[in-house]
């Protein structure tokens, strides 16, 4: 069946929405009701499958003094294969589609991690010359702190020059890549928010 006009299209999607298996906005709304046990179960399913949790997959936020970037959780460390796979974990992210700046958060060597903490402990943030530069050859250190968040790893970039550069250009999208041992990777993107300076 071919839907031939916008009105039918909207109706059809409305039906889909009402069934409760519809657009992600519906999911976002539900997952904000944090006390609903059903929603909690849903979130654990998302996490177990390495899907960004609606509502928690927060936008990147560029504050006056720092930038808060949420990096998605690794699939392998959620699934915990035995024995653990040895290889590189790493996140590469670019501010803007024609990237203003590209950064990588990675360890210096391959590892057999059993938790996100293992990866966090040995990883650092580096600046790349271009989006195409290989991760391991991006070696210009960038000041930042990393911690575990509810939906992944949160990196607080505190390099004042870089923060200023991003605030000046105000790119609207963060392109993210996640790499895991064995060849698994993921490509996605999130919005960037610039809260007022009050």
């Amino acid at each position: 069946m071919k839907l031939t006009n916008g009105f039918v299209h909207v109706l059809a999607h409305a039906t889909w929405f009402l069934l409760g298996i519809g657009p992600m906005q519906a999911q976002s709304a539900r997952s904000n009701k944090g006390t609903d046990p059903k929603v909690i179960r849903t979130d654990s399913v998302y996490l177990a499958h390495n899907v960004p949790i609606p509502g928690y997959d927060a936008e990147t936020v560029v504050y006056r003094e720092h930038i808060e970037v949420l990096l998605p959780p690794t699939y392998i460390l959620v699934q915990r294969p035995k024995p653990p796979l040895r290889g590189f974990y790493g996140w590469k992210f670019s501010f803007g589609r024609n990237p203003l700046v590209t950064l990588v958060f990675r360890p210096d060597s391959a590892l057999s991690a059993t938790s996100d903490s293992d990866v966090l402990r040995v990883s650092s943030l580096f600046l790349c010359r271009s989006r195409e530069q290989w991760m391991l050859s991006c070696t210009i250190p960038v000041r930042a702190k990393a911690r575990k968040g509810s939906g992944g790893i949160i990196v607080d970039i505190t390099d004042s020059a870089l923060v200023r550069q991003v605030r000046t250009s105000k790119p609207s999208v963060l392109l993210r890549q996640l790499f895991e041992p064995g060849g698994r990777f993921r490509v996605d993107e999130t919005g960037i928010r610039y809260p007022s300076d009050r």
Partner: protein, 677 residues
């Protein structure tokens, strides 16, 4: 080359062993661990390629006609509910529509991942080339250069790694793969030649590089070496053809154990060869390329877009590739739709496989064919009929057909359309048999193009064993008659026409054929009648002393229009002497035998004979028929007779020639003609 099957013993040695239907995708990995830096580089390249592809698809989607975008929903979302319940009351159908009924949904063992392959869903797509021919064709031209640059850098790293460790099948494989993707086929072949990993894997990489460079014969040879070098258990899994067979074919296939399947597979690929005249088996080569593509991608868990690990439903995408090869185009509906599908998948089935975006359509350019024949042809090729090969790529008007779909299909490099069987007869000589075939190159696809065709009459009895019997040329719409000697053993006879010089269109027919033995094999006192040849009307002078040169006037078909009721019959009798004065009866009777009650009614005079036929009786010396004797140890009498069928109603008629001698010896022969209204 596919090895020759032991034809006689093949189906007699049927071993009942119901192996489970499970296709194993063999991995070429060695035991040594992979270099994590190289794995990361491959992943990084693939991620960047995906980024460029996403940008390309974003650009196209913004400019895509609304209906094209809308029509693709059902294929991009590809929910099983869309295919399980096609009724309008199904809310999923209400939301997204429903795919035409010929299409199949290919689902993973993990319940949430399915693929819905289809023909191309739009007349054209913006800034895109067929990615089944070149992977980067999926990228906008303006984005290809930066991807190529990064791929070059990856290739340098892989080449250096292979120089250090030529025993790594993984490194050799990825190097060949990326050099092929860069369309640097010579370098890909060099990389394959430096491979010192498992012999079968290195041979397979050579075959892969040759095939991607359209060197079918070299690829066929390399894949043959690959197959020969495989351990039995691996070959059994690698060559498993289960996914390519329909349920009815699969039931028969699964009755063979692993060892017997070697022969069955060889039989399948032999008969699936798109054109016997071309050196190398393009269909088998294509299947090996698909298997290599899958193995190369599984070894890195995922490729630029598709996940090949089982947790994320990689078995489903591998099945799509095994059955249909690489798609021509994949449409992506963007980040938001990916998230919708991910969430919906988890909502529908909490225990499903993890979502594996990007979710895309898998679109194939029409014009492809299905060349694997019906199972009865695989089991008994020498009695196969032309209709046992469906092909299926073209509709009745000659245009690419999009209303069909099949268990498998492929693109042989040019369109192939079916030819009518035409008329095929044999005449026996002292030490050999001549086969004469006539048909018209009048498929609507051929009539659309004014072209010349190079036509071959071929005989094949096994893979790689193809005899060229005769060759000719004719133009679109013309008739061709080919004659040549044929061995007196059961064979598959084929007529194959290839457009010259463009080679964009080919036409073929093939069928099982059992020629009679030569006259030297005729028994003492045995008499016989040859095939009856239906000829275009000949002049009385030609009939006075007929010879087998009349066969150049063989009708190119046995369906005669209302203006073609006058015909000439040509036949030969063997083992009789002119002095025998044989009694000959020619009957033309309806081919559909009347029912029992009708025959009883006719016999007792209660029912008027519903059939109208012709009966002609004459003796050997009768002046109404000309005769020429071919003198030899076993003489042959060449005969011709004009016949007017104008009084007969349209329908199918059996032409029967019966010959009897005074001493009681007798022989007869029949053929069937159809009189069209």
């Amino acid at each position: 080359m596919v090895p020759r099957p032991p034809l006689v013993a093949l189906f007699a040695s049927l071993v009942v062993s119901l192996a489970p239907l499970r296709v194993v995708w063999a991995k070429p990995q060695e035991d040594s661990p992979l270099d994590p830096r190289l794995v990361l580089m491959v992943s990084e390249f693939q991620a960047n390629w995906q980024r460029a592809w996403r940008d390309s698809e974003d650009y196209r989607r913004m400019r895509m006609p609304y209906n094209d975008f809308n029509e693709r929903h059902v294929y991009v979302y590809c929910y099983e509910e869309m295919y399980r319940d096609r009724s309008p009351s199904n809310p999923v159908v209400q939301g997204f529509g429903v795919a035409p009924p010929q299409y199949v949904l290919i689902r993973s063992k993990r319940p949430s991942r399915s693929w819905c392959p289809s023909w191309s869903l739009a007349k054209s797509n913006l800034d895109v080339d067929d990615e089944s021919a070149w992977r980067d064709g999926a990228l906008r031209p303006s984005l290809r250069a930066s991807v190529a640059t990064q791929r070059d850098s990856l290739v340098v790293a892989l080449a250096a790694a292979l120089a250090k460790d030529s025993s790594s099948g993984w490194i050799a494989g990825q190097l060949v793969r990326f050099r092929v993707d860069a369309r640097d086929f010579d370098a890909a072949l060099q990389a394959a030649s430096r491979c010192r990993a498992l012999a079968w894997w290195c041979a397979g990489l050579s075959g892969y590089a040759h095939a991607k460079n359209n060197e079918t014969l070299a690829a066929d040879s390399a894949f043959g070496r690959m197959r020969a070098a495989m351990p039995d258990s691996l070959r059994c899994a690698w060559e498993d053809a289960s996914l390519l067979l329909r349920t009815d074919q699969l039931t028969a296939y699964r009755k063979f154990n692993c060892r017997a399947r070697d022969s069955v597979n060889a039989q399948i690929w032999w008969l699936a060869d798109p054109l016997f005249r071309e050196a190398g088996n393009a269909r088998w080569v294509e299947q090996e390329v698909r298997r290599m593509d899958i193995a190369l991608r599984k070894s890195v868990t995922q490729d630029e877009r598709f996940s090949f690990d089982e947790q994320r439903g990689g078995d489903a995408v591998a099945e799509v590739l095994a059955r249909y090869g690489w798609p021509s185009y994949t449409a992506w509906h963007g980040v938001a739709k990916d998230r919708n599908i991910s969430y919906q998948s988890l909502e529908i089935n909490r225990n499903a496989s993890p979502p594996s975006p990007p979710y895309t359509s898998l679109e194939y350019a029409p014009g492809r064919i299905s060349s694997i024949p019906e199972w009865r042809a695989v089991a008994f090729p020498y009695t196969a009929t032309a209709t046992d090969w469906a092909l299926g790529g073209t509709d009745s008007s000659g245009a690419p057909n999009t209303s069909w779909w099949s268990q498998e299909h492929f693109w042989p490099g040019y369109r192939i359309v079916p030819l009518p069987k035409g008329q095929t007869v044999t005449v026996r000589r002292q030490s050999h048999v001549d086969v004469v075939a006539a048909l018209e190159l009048a498929h609507p696809a051929q009539l659309r193009r004014d072209a010349t065709y190079d036509v071959l009459l071929l005989s094949t009895t096994a893979p790689g064993n193809v005899d060229s019997i005769s060759r000719g040329a004719t133009r679109s719409g013309g008739a061709i008659r080919l004659r040549g000697p044929i061995k007196s053993n059961p064979t598959v006879l084929a007529i194959e026409a290839v457009e010259q010089p463009a080679r964009e269109l080919a036409a073929r027919t093939r069928f099982g054929f059992t020629p009679p033995p030569p006259l030297s094999a005729i028994l003492e006192n045995e008499i016989a009648v040859s095939d009856i040849a239906v000829l275009t009307p000949r002049t009385p002078s030609e009939l006075e002393a007929p010879t087998d040169s009349l066969l150049q006037h063989l009708y190119p078909r046995l369906s005669l229009s209302s203006r073609e009721r006058r015909i000439t019959l040509y036949w030969e009798s063997y083992g009789t002497q002119p002095r025998d004065s044989a009694s000959i009866v020619l009957r033309v009777v309806p081919a559909n035998d009347p029912g029992f009650l009708q025959r009883v009614g006719t016999a007792v005079g209660m029912v008027t004979d519903p059939t109208r036929g012709i009966e002609v009786r004459f003796r050997d010396q009768d002046a109404r028929t000309g005769k020429t004797t071919l003198v030899g140890p076993v003489p042959a009498q060449m005969r011709a007779l004009s016949l007017d069928l104008a009084a007969l109603k349209p329908g199918r008629y059996t032409l029967d020639i019966s010959m009897s001698l005074r001493d009681g010896r007798a022989a007869s022969r029949q053929t069937v003609v159809e009189l069209l209204p």
